[in-house]
C-alpha cells in the first residue's frame, strides 16, 4: 500500500495498454479492418445459407426465395418506396429507444408510443380532417401524435425520476395498456359504423391523408421523417442537451455532482423519445394506414428496439438498421405471395441477420 493516494483506474488502464493485444486466431496477415469485413461477410453468407436450408426443408427453391426477397424490396420503385415508408415508424421508434439510451435509460415502450401517436392522430384527423385544409390537419395530426407519444413515455419517465420505478418494466407494461386503449377505441368508441368484417376506426378524409410525392408511392411523411431525423442528430451530437444526456448516461452520480439536473434530463430524454415514436405512429397512420385497426404496429416497436441497439444508438446508423429491418419485414409479404411461405419465416431471417453484427462487433473489439 502506498501512502499517497493513487488513482487506481489510471494505473490499471496503463497496465492494460502495456500488455500486447492478444493475437486473434483468424487470418492474421490481413489488417483488422479487412478481417472484420471478412468475418461479417462470412456471417451474413452463413445466415442466408441457414435460411436457405430451412426454406428448402419446406420444399421451396432457396434461389427463388433470395430472388423474391430482393425483388420485393429493392428491384422496382414501388418496392423501394414501400421499404422507405415502412422504415418511418420503425426508424422513429428506434430513435425513441436511442435518445433515452444516451442517458442510460432503457425504453422498451416504442410500441406503445407508436400506438398512442396513431391513436391521437386518428382522433384529431377524423374530427377535423374533413373541415380544414390538408396542411392544417397534417400538422395537427403530427403534433398531437408527437404529444401523445411524449406524454405516454413521460409517464414512465416520471415514475422513474419520482419513484425510482424501473423504466424498462413500466414502458413494457405501458405497451400492453396502450394496445388495450386502442382496441377499446376500435371496438367501441370509434368503431366505423360502415365498416364490414375487421373492426376498425372511421377512415381519414381524403384531404387529411398525407399526399404522395410526384406520383410515386412515397408520401411527404418521408420528408418530415428525414427532417426530424436530422434535427434529432443535431440535438444529440451538437447541443449542450445532447452532451449532458451522454454525461448522465456515462455516470449519473458524477453528473449529479457536476450540477447537472439529472432528473429533468432523464425525463426530457424519455419525452423526446416518446415524441419521436408518437410522430412515427402518426405519420404511419396519416400516410399509409389511414384508419386505426388492430395490429397496426405489427410489433414495429420491438423491431425498432433491435434497430437502435444494432445502430449503437447513433441516429444515422439507427436509421440504416431501420431501413434494413423494414426491407426484411417487407420481404415477408413477397415470400408469402410468390413462394407460398408463411410470413413469420422472415422473423428467423431477421434474428440471424441481427445476430451477425452483434457477434462480429465483439470480435472486432477483441481483435483491436
Amino acid at each position: 500500500m502506498t501512502a499517497t493516494p493513487v488513482n487506481e483506474s489510471s494505473v490499471t488502464r496503463t497496465d492494460v495498454d502495456l500488455i500486447a493485444p492478444e493475437q486473434p486466431d483468424l487470418p492474421s496477415r490481413l489488417g483488422p479492418g479487412s478481417r472484420y469485413a471478412l468475418v461479417s461477410t462470412l456471417g451474413y453468407v452463413a445466415s442466408l445459407a441457414i435460411f436457405g436450408v430451412l426454406v428448402a426443408v419446406k420444399g421451396v427453391e432457396p434461389i427463388s426465395v433470395y430472388h423474391t426477397i430482393i425483388s420485393s424490396t429493392l428491384l422496382n420503385g414501388d418496392a423501394v418506396a414501400q421499404t422507405a415508408l415502412r422504415a418511418i415508424p420503425i426508424g422513429l421508434a428506434a430513435l425513441a429507444v436511442a435518445v433515452p439510451a444516451r442517458a442510460g435509460l432503457i425504453n422498451v415502450g416504442g410500441e406503445g408510443q407508436l400506438i398512442m401517436g396513431a391513436v391521437a392522430a386518428t382522433g384529431i384527423g377524423v374530427a377535423i380532417g374533413a373541415q380544414v385544409p390538408g396542411a392544417l390537419s397534417w400538422a395537427a395530426m403530427c403534433i398531437s401524435g408527437a404529444l401523445a407519444g411524449a406524454l405516454w413515455a413521460a409517464v414512465s419517465g416520471v415514475l422513474r425520476t419520482w419513484l425510482g420505478a424501473s423504466e424498462a418494466v413500466t414502458t413494457l407494461l405501458l405497451n400492453f395498456i396502450a394496445n388495450d386503449v386502442m382496441l377499446y377505441l376500435i371496438y367501441q368508441a370509434w368503431k366505423d359504423p360502415h365498416g364490414s368484417g375487421q373492426p376498425q376506426s372511421r377512415p381519414l378524409a381524403h384531404a387529411a391523408q398525407l399526399p404522395k410525392i410526384f406520383g410515386s408511392q412515397l408520401n411527404i411523411g418521408v420528408l418530415i421523417a428525414l427532417v426530424v431525423v436530422a434535427v434529432t442528430w443535431f440535438l444529440l451530437q451538437r447541443t449542450g442537451w445532447g452532451f449532458q444526456l451522454r454525461v448522465v448516461g456515462g455516470n449519473t452520480e458524477a453528473a449529479r455532482r457536476a450540477g447537472l439536473r439529472v432528473n429533468s434530463l432523464l425525463l426530457s430524454s424519455m419525452a423526446v423519445g416518446g415524441a419521436l415514436a408518437g410522430l412515427g405512429g402518426a405519420l404511419n397512420l396519416a400516410g399509409v394506414e389511414t384508419q386505426l385497426r388492430p395490429d397496426i404496429t405489427l410489433t414495429f416497436g420491438y423491431v425498432a428496439f433491435l434497430a437502435s441497439f444494432l445502430g449503437r444508438h447513433q441516429p444515422v446508423k439507427v436509421i440504416g438498421a431501420a431501413l434494413l429491418f423494414s426491407a426484411v419485414a417487407l420481404s415477408g409479404n413477397g415470400l408469402q405471395i410468390t413462394d407460398g411461405l408463411d410470413g413469420t419465416i422472415v422473423e428467423i431471417l431477421l434474428a440471424l441477420i441481427v445476430a451477425v453484427p452483434l457477434v462480429v462487433a465483439n470480435y472486432r473489439r477483441r481483435a483491436a
Partner: protein
Amino acid sequence: MERVTATEVPPHGPEADVVVHEVVRPPLSLRTRLTSGLVLVAVGAVCALLLGLSATARAQADFVLSPQDPHLSVSLPARATCVVLGVVVALLGAWQAARGWSREAMRWVLAVTLLCFVLSFLCWAVTGAPGTSFDLLGLLQNTILTAVPLILGALAGVLCERSGVINVAIEGQMLAGAFAGALVASLAGNGYVGIVGAVVAGALMGLLLALFAIRYLVNQVVLGVVLNVFALGLTGFMYDALMQPNADALNLPKTFDPIALPVLSKIPVLGPLLFEANIIVYLMYLLIIAVDVALFRTRWGLRTRAVGEHPLAADTVGIKVLAMRYRNVMLGGAVAGLAGAYLTIGSVGAFSKNISSGKGFIALAAVIFGRWSPRGAIAAALLFGFTDALATLLSFTQTPVTIPTNLLLMLPYLATVFAVAGLVGRVQAPGADGEPYVKE
C-alpha cells in the same frame, strides 16, 4: 426520524468488540409526506364515497368460498363495508400526512391500502345485479392458473440473473418449451415425455443465450430480444411446415388430469385451490421451495450469488465463474421450458403460434418487480394473476357501472405499473447482472 443500525468488524482483528454504528437516514421531506398522505386519503375517499355510495343501498355482497359448503360464504353489507374500508385507508393517509409512517411501516400501509381498495371494489362490483354472488374460490383458482407460467418464468429469470446473466429471452424459452412439449407429447403419446421434451428445448434455448452472452460477450438485452424473435420465427415456421399438415399425429397431445392429493385436497378452500392441480403445478411448488432454499441456504446458492454480484471476487476464491453461469442459464432455460409446457400440455393441449403471447415479458417484469428474489417474483406473478382473473370475472359480472371489456383487459398491467411504482420503487439489480466476465 428513523435509525438504522449497522454492525461492522473493526480493522484490528475479529476478537475485538463489534462496534455498532448508528446511521441516521434523513426523514421524508414534508412535501413527500403530505403528497403521499393526501394520495392515500384520496384513495380512501374513492372507496368510501364513490364506491360506497354508488353501491346499491342495503345490498349484500355475497362471496362464495366453497360451492359445496354454504357455511363458507361471506355476506357483507356492501355500502357499509366500502365506507369502513375507505375510512381505514383515509386514516392511514391522515397519519402519514400528519406524522409520517416509517419506511418499513409504509410498505404495510400500502399493502393494506391495496387490499382495502380491492375489497371495496369487489363489494361495489357485486351489487350491480341483485342476487348474484361472487365466486371468490373461482377467482383465486384462476389467479393460480394464470400465475403458474409467470411464476415458473420468473424463477427462470431469477436463476439466470442471480448468476449475472440478464434473461430477456424467457419468452423465447417458453415458446420453445410449449412447442416441444406439444410435439413430443403427441409423438410419444405420453405427457411426461412431453415435459422432458419441453425442459430440454428450454435448456437448449438457454444454452444459446449462455453461449452468445458468455463466450461471445454479446449485449444480453439485445441478445434476449433476438432470441425471442428467433424462437417466434422458428416455432412459427415449424408449426406451418411440420405440425399443421399432420396435426392429428403431431399436435394433439393429451393434457394432464388434475391429481387430488390424498389428505391435503380435503382442506376447505385451500384444498381445491392448491391441491387438485396437475403435475406441472406440483412441480412448480417443488421448484419454488427448491430455488428459494437453494439460493439462500446452500453452497451452490452462495456461489451463484457471488458470481452474480462480484465475479472477480468469486473467481479469486476459486469459483468457476463461467461454468456457474452456463449451468445456471441452462437451468433457467429448462424452468422456462417447463413454463412453456404448462401453456400447451399443462392446459389447452395443442400448440398455436405465439402461444406465450408476452407471458415471458410479464415474468421478466415480475423478476425486476420482485427485486430478483424468488419470493418477491412470486408475489408479483400472483398479483398479476389475481388482477387478470379479476378482470375476466368482472367481464362476466354485471357491475353498477358497465366497464368496457377492452378497458378491463388492461387492469393487470395497470395494477402492476402501480405496484412497481408505489410498492417497490427503486430496485437494485445483482451487481454484475448483464456484465460479461472476462478473465484478465
